[in-house]
Amino acid sequence: MNVGILYSRIRKDEKLLLAELRERGHEVTKIDVRKVQFGLTEPPEIFDDVDIVLDRCLATSRSKYATQYVAAYGIPVINSPETAEVCADKAKNSLALAQAGVPTPATDVAFTKESAMESIEKFGYPCVLKPVVGSWGRLMAKLDSRDAAEAILEHKATLGHYEHKVFYIQEFVDKPGRDIRVLATDGEPVAAMVRSSDHWLTNAAKGATTEAFELDDEALELVKKASDAVGGGLLGIDLMETGDGYTVHEVNHTVEFKALTDATDVDVPAKVVDWLESKVKVEVPA
């Protein structure tokens, strides 16, 4: 097969995938989205021979639009624009999880400082304020007091991009210093790890330590449900242990798996390429 890779930066994750694809004799068409013009009807020439497109754009805006156009051209794209749309926005993500009956932290969205403050006081301290877009734990705030909450809301309202004027307020989950990251393909786990840190943010990008994690039946079921809730695909699902079960914080659609490859003995790129091969058989009838 010929796999088109949408990218603007080749990270370690993309290199691992490229190596695996080429090793198996697949063709790869690298598509630098910075150089492409997406017209309304005809796909750009670079898409001519691709059987499937894998979106590896880091920028969520590029990811959202490029996948919509590729899908409109009738080319199968991973992940689908529908999935990208839900996953790129924390508010939509939370709503989709809740509607699917997946346990997720109590979350309010509010549009003014005043109404955000009411949510914060309702949740009590600490609670968490996040931007609806963004990544790697950036611009997330754990609010420990009313003074801190007022200062941060004021800063966001004054300095923020318009998307920071959507206040996303979440209860603080008192997890045991770690959270669980699962990489899944259409709800089927590929690998899972726990990220541990003394810091309340346990992103691998924030220097958390990682180790392999064995999913129990409950976690397996939640991974499947969470994946279905956002439309399936190649996804990173973030769970936390609450003491009597799990809560799913979010589902990520342009998932990094380098840390998983290091933390587990799963050959993640091989599993991902297996799955891509199966997708092409399903989506492109010979």
Binding site: Y7, S8, R9, I10, R11, E14, K15, L18, A19, K30, D32, L58, A59, T60, S61, V133, G134, S135, W136, H161, G236, N252, H253, T254, V255, E256
Partner: protein, 54 residues
Amino acid sequence: MAECVECGADVALHDDLEIGEIVDCTTCGAELEVVDVNPPVLEKAPELEEDWGE
């Protein structure tokens, strides 16, 4: 080897270099983007976007 566009120093490159990859100049610390591999050509990498990623 390729030349750093910022400071002119030689930048050591690995074998499996990919177009679109970012490499660091160990001399000046600049982030450089690989724009060609054969022979390797480096350009100054664009700044990070605000709405990046996962």
